[in-house]
Symmetry: C2
Subunit: 693 residues, 2 copies
């Protein structure tokens, strides 16, 4: 469940909704945890102190979750959540993903140049302020005003916290489709270093074939450390690990950052996903998978430099494939249709409400029809699908930043506002390796598909490819660009518009040329599609609050949530699946060849290991990509597992929660103890985690 699955792949279609809790379903915000329900179901009493403890021990990483597990800033998360860091610190000759990494001492902990760690310190409800600001405005104007208001609130919040001597990152959060607006305020650690990661062969044993499967044997854990001013961060409010782990049936809580769910999309939106978005997206991804795999066969070096991209892509494919399956399930779709029809009927039966909101479902359907008219150019140009290259993305960011940054904060494109700039600069400055052959591969691929889908006679295609093949153009752009050099990127970043105008870097030249058309498409999309859909969803949310009350949770938005559930398996084809796996079977299942190879370190230690050690476990927690690395927490507040995946049925969780079959998958803490004490024998970590006692 790598972090990529987080990225909402459908610009303009991401709806934020509200669901009624059924069974252990629910991704609850910390201000609205159904404490009574938890007490009834599990006899567990959750109070403010418990919630604060868990919240302050939980960390938001780039696309993942982690938790502080020592007073010295040590962070427990998944191996796959540090894949980017491992990749960035690898070379053509040596892959840290393959070999793993053991710092051994703090001095040897290595920089993760694009990693950040955020802890949610405060939540402030600003719904009234936002709704007041937009009241009575037409859709496109309301969207613009909302954007400005949220940006202004963020600025104000950051200024206030800075002058109070406790600087926090303030982020506006939209919940319940605009039913609520919040300011989430984070303590940010932007110096995060890698402490420990096992070899991928054991972290991701079974590779893509086993991904989203259970039973499972993955040691998908790693350790990071947050630093402040060059020293380990003091994190007194950390969580502790109960290495004994839980028993079957034990209640478990997941504290984490589920990335995105679409449980409140309208039927029209689900159908647009099913019919228009997912099939072509899957076809592109599958072709790129084939190109990556074939490229990997050309040399060991090629294999190494493409490995991380490939595993992320394969994860995306599996997720989207099962999402498509879910949407093709007419029973699920009928359920959605019925629920929507019921709500529409209730709205129609409420004269005041009906007069106020009209038919927002129809407005969404109309907006989607409008979207379809220019969807492909929008996707390929503004969406970047036609220029799949890290260099091309850097160029566009630099070109746009030069134009946006001089503007007043509230007038900029949202992603260029002050709240986002530090992160953007960090990413541009990061000395991460960029491999020209991989750039050429992805760029040539995306150009070829742009020609296929927009057609050879589309103006943009004629302009780019009239004299060059996709391969030749990609080679010329990549070969002539200096953007792989972080110093040059920083020169352009700091040089502003003058530097951009003067640049002859071919990617900068191209980005300059394409920007006006791309911006026009974005403006069209924002005004005619997003604005309408956002307004309509806000109205549906209002109707839902009014009719269904407030015992509901919002769709996932990569913000902190709590889920409650328990350790349990499920029934598959009439056979029970037990909730635990054991070390012994790992060795039985090994084939000696990737992705079923047990690394030498484990083979060497085999005779010293307790083969009865629990390895992975399953729970009925309601999770989704972004929850990767979440601590599984027992009633006593201690960590009893490390969430890293879901079973295959969990993927339909994007649209609905299947109580019978949707299961989360976690690393059992006992196997982490076994690994650290007997396989890797990292004395300082063993001590820091209290395993020497």
């Amino acid at each position: 469940m790598p972090s990529r699955s987080l990225i909402p792949f459908v610009a303009g279609l991401v709806g934020f909704g509200a669901s009624i809790a059924v069974a252990d379903e629910g991704m609850w915000t910390f201000d609205n945890v159904p404490r009574d329900l938890v007490r009834e179901r599990f006899g567990v009493r959750i109070d403010d102190a418990w919630l604060d403890h868990v919240r302050l021990g939980t960390v938001r990483l780039s696309g993942c979750t982690g938790s502080f597990v020592s007073p010295n800033g040590l962070i427990l998360t998944n191996h796959h959540c540090v894949a980017d860091c491992l990749d960035q610190n690898s070379t053509r000759e040596k892959s840290l993903i393959e070999s793993g990494f053991i710092a051994g001492t703090r001095e040897k902990e290595i920089d993760c140049p694009t990693q950040i760690a955020d802890v949610l310190e405060r939540l402030e409800n600003v719904t009234a302020k936002v709704q007041d600001a937009t009241r009575g405005l037409a859709e496109a104007d309301a969207k613009e005003r909302r954007r400005q208001t949220l940006t202004a609130l963020e600025s104000e919040c950051e200024n206030t916290s800075r002058s109070s001597g406790n600087p926090l990152k303030c982020q506006a959060v939209t919940l319940y489709d605009g039913g609520q607006y919040w300011l989430y305020q984070y303590r940010r650690y932007d110096d995060v270093r890698l402490v420990f990661a096992p070899e991928e062969d054991i972290a991701a044993f079974g590779g893509d074939p086993d991904n989203f499967q259970f039973p499972r044997w993955c040691l998908d854990f790693s350790l990071l450390r947050a630093y402040v001013n060059g020293a380990p961060a003091a994190t007194p409010r950390h969580l502790t690990i109960n290495f004994g782990g839980p028993e079957a049936g034990d209640p478990v809580f997941v504290s984490g950052h589920p990335g995105s769910t679409d449980r409140q999309l309208t039927v029209a939106e689900l159908k647009a996903l099913r019919d228009r978005e997912l099939p072509p997206t899957l076809l592109r991804a599958s072709e790129l998978r084939g190109r990556y795999i074939q490229f990997a066969k050309t040399s060991d070096e090629a294999n190494r430099i493409v490995a991380d991209s490939l595993s992320g892509l394969e994860n995306t494919i599996k997720v989207q494939r099962k999402q498509l399956d879910a949407l093709l399930d007419d029973a699920v779709m009928a359920g959605k249709r019925d629920a929507e029809a019921d709500l529409r009927m209730r709205v129609a039966g409420n004269r005041a409400l009906a007069a106020e909101i009209g038919d927002p479902w129809q407005r969404i359907e109309d907006a989607l029809d409008e979207e379809a008219t220019r969807w492909l150019p929008y996707l390929y140009l503004e969406g970047g699908t036609g220029l799949n290259s890290r260099l091309a993305r850097s160029a566009r960011t630099l070109v746009r930043a030069a134009a946006e940054r001089p503007k007043p904060n509230a007038e900029r494109l949202r992603e260029y506002t002050d709240a986002f700039l530090p992160r953007m600069e960090q990413q541009l400055a990061a000395p991460v390796p960029i491999y020209p052959e991989l750039e050429r591969l992805t760029l040539s691929f995306s150009l070829e598909r742009m020609r296929e889908w927009l057609g050879p006679d589309a103006p943009i295609v004629r302009r780019l490819l009239v004299n060059e093949t996709p391969d030749a153009l990609a080679a010329r752009l990549v070969g002539g660009s200096r953007l792989a050099d972080p110093a040059y990127r920083m020169e352009l970043w700091k040089g502003g518009q003058a530097a951009i105008d003067a640049s002859t870097d071919p990617f900068i030249v191209l980005a300059r040329e394409l920007d006006p058309e791309a911006r026009a498409l974005r403006k069209w999309h924002e005004d005619n599609v997003e604005a309408v859909i956002e307004a309509a969803h806000e109205q549906i949310a209002r109707a839902r609050f009014q009719i269904l009350g407030t015992s509901v949770y919002p769709d996932a938005t990569f913000t902190l949530r709590l889920n409650f559930g328990s350790v349990q398996g499920w029934i598959e084809n009439g056979q029970p699946v037990e909730p635990f796996t054991y070390l012994e079977r790992l060795f039985e299942r090994a084939t000696g060849a990737q992705p079923f190879r047990v690394p030498d370190s484990w083979q060497a230690a085999r005779s010293t290991l307790d083969l009865g050690t629990r390895f992975n476990l399953s729970t009925n927690s309601d999770i989704v990509g972004g929850n990767s690395g979440s601590p599984l927490i027992a009633a006593d507040g201690r960590i009893v597992g490390l969430l890293f995946d879901g079973n295959i049925h969990s993927i339909s969780g994007a649209y609905w929660f299947d109580v019978d079959k949707n299961r989360a998958v976690a690393v059992h803490p006992a196997i982490i103890r076994e690994a650290l004490t007997k396989v890797y024998k990292v004395a300082p970590l063993v001590e820091e985690l209290g395993l020497d006692k």
Copy 2:
């Protein structure tokens, strides 16, 4: 529209149906052409002589159609219909697909080792015989008896024709879902040679981006010649070409062999296609496309040896992608549902009929549910999806042939009956190049996907991949096999079971090992899925005949059909698309790079050419893959075009005929004249086609 699109990609789901004619829709059998309708619509009188003339001038090729165009066996067809022949006569160093081929003299015409040419001489209705034989039997028994009966009828027919001194190939044909059975009797030419093919750059100008598009500029034609006893066949009943071509609005007839349509599938079958078949098939195909493309980049040689496979695959992807789009169109599906509900209601209202056939729609749905339980093993093992390799397919054919051929004809698996053996032997004996690197690519790919879809713990996957990676296993099998050598294949073919048992060829060993399980899956599928669905379709066909009468045409079955329509464009996004393109625009559209490169031969001749020459044209003919190479015939019986493709809307023709937008695309005869007289200047052909007059 290469021949691959013919191959029914869904074993067990291919239904044969009957549609009511609307507008110019319809793929009519020659015994049931609606002559009155043609006279009413076009004022054209079609009589027996006209039909015989057209039928005997039309040729069925491997997966394509052609027509005799001289008294000396000269066959006009598409360039893409001879791609296999060009590929088989190419080497790593020289690709005839790239360079084209001009024999110049008859002595230099080259063998197309797997090509055959069949002319339909007789049609015999044997419905009563087949229905009598199966009356009252249970479904699985009826299927078995039907198979035996059809095989026996074929044998008898061939024996009779042989002893009459006029040997014909007899093929049983199922029409109207089993509403009718026929014996189609062909004069077969199995010595077919290549006479002329232009360069692919002009034959397939625009490549995959332009495939299934119009306007279009493709010189997609070639010439073959049928030989008998080493001399050109005498074909006095050939067709003649009117090189002036037709005008807009002119009536045109297509005589050809549409491969497969699914217009009479039930809603349950369409949903199985939409939900279960097409998405994974498309994902596999797209990944393979990526592997092919990346492989092609490794060297000029690699590019050459994979080119034909790639273009076939890209055609398949485009077809299936648009088929999926068609099935995702809820309006189309609702139309199908309504039509089905209407027929079901009428059956229910007819007490006798209802008592006789019950609810065949439900039985089909149940059979599909049953099919789903073992679909993946069936697909990967018996369907061959897990072993995508020409060597593996040869091995299986040889292993099965050794077991089947000693049996009495009527007891064999259908494809090993006498009617099919000569063609099978021809294919095994053909000295076509097999490239080990390409074999390894496709085999490794399919093994990897088998592991993904069946899961790493499936017995077959454990057996094959427990000690080897897909790459290693593929390398060992391909490297150790002698099956690329036609002499060795013939040795095993002739040696029968003893030779198979004694062989240590790794592919033969593997095929021997897997055959029992594959056969068991096939038996299960035939008895529990195919038998039920065939019986149910036969009953639906009976109901349809009874209720809707006989003015209907059957689904396509790669047997001879006639369609009538006219030269016309259509309206796309509110803009008219004209039905003709002109040579001038070819040069304007050229980019100098594939797939938009105009070959040197045309650049050199440019100043001599009439740039106003018509190039391609569109008609509203109802066609599908297999119609490639069909003559477009005017009311006077002369050829006025060479069909080679459809527009993008034609693909949904698999399920329904869109009268407003479905268009066929043909090469205009004027551009063929221009090419032969001014560009290629092949004097003997110019003379043979009467162009020197």
